[in-house]
Amino acid sequence: MSNITRAVIIQSKFHDLECVFEALEQMGVRYSRVGTQNNYRVDIPEYYLRFECRGNTVYAVYDTENTRAKQFIYEFMKVYKKVLDEKLERLHLEELKLHEQQVLAEIAKQEELRRRAQKIKRRRLQLEKARKREEIEMRREIEQKKKIIVERAKRLGYDIREEVHGNEIVLVLVRRRQVHR
């Protein structure tokens, strides 16, 4: 006599309470909840089993000889897994979306900073250019005025000596005066 046996190991513990209840809802099972907020049980009389909830962990409690209960747990496992996988996928997508938004916000921020830096640089270059032009014009102006002073000094009879000391032009005007007695 031979046979082919198919079996499956069924879970006895589930670690996400929210998914447990969502799976039960999806399966359309009637259940009742008894106990306190953190320590309670969920009775499913139809299948002769209960879930005992301690914190976020849910223990399936049933008679191991009870095939109906085992079959239910087996079906429950599949729905629970689907619920958990979908939830995980949803959260993963949400995370990606948020990350994308963060990246876009960062790019926008960087772009704004780049624009501000460009604006400041443009203004600085504009001012530097203006200052440079003014310095050149001032040098030209000084040169022109110096020539006028030299011409006037000549007309007034001065001997002129021009020297340059660092950033300074020095005109030494000397005139010998005749003394009348």
Binding site: E141, N167, V170, L173, R175, R176
Partner: protein
């Protein structure tokens, strides 16, 4: 022969400082004004003791070049 000497120092920022020695009395101011007329704005004239002395007079003038400025 006495020497009349005017030293004109022009900085690259347009400041002018004029020292006059050897010219008697108020004419030393006139002499400077003849040189700087129409070309600079006179900010101050500092008269030293020599300004009031005879025969040698020392005067210091400090002016700034401003385009189109009148004295």
């Amino acid at each position: 022969m006495p020497e009349e000497k005017i030293t004109v120092r022009i900085s690259n920022n347009g400041k002018i400082v004029v020292h006059v020695t050897g010219i008697k009395g108020p004419s030393c101011v006139d002499e400077v004004l003849k040189l700087l007329e129409d070309i600079a704005y006179v900010q101050e004239i500092i008269k030293t003791d020599e300004y009031y002395a005879t025969p040698h007079i020392t005067q210091k003038k400090k002016v700034e070049v401003k385009s189109g400025a009148k004295i």
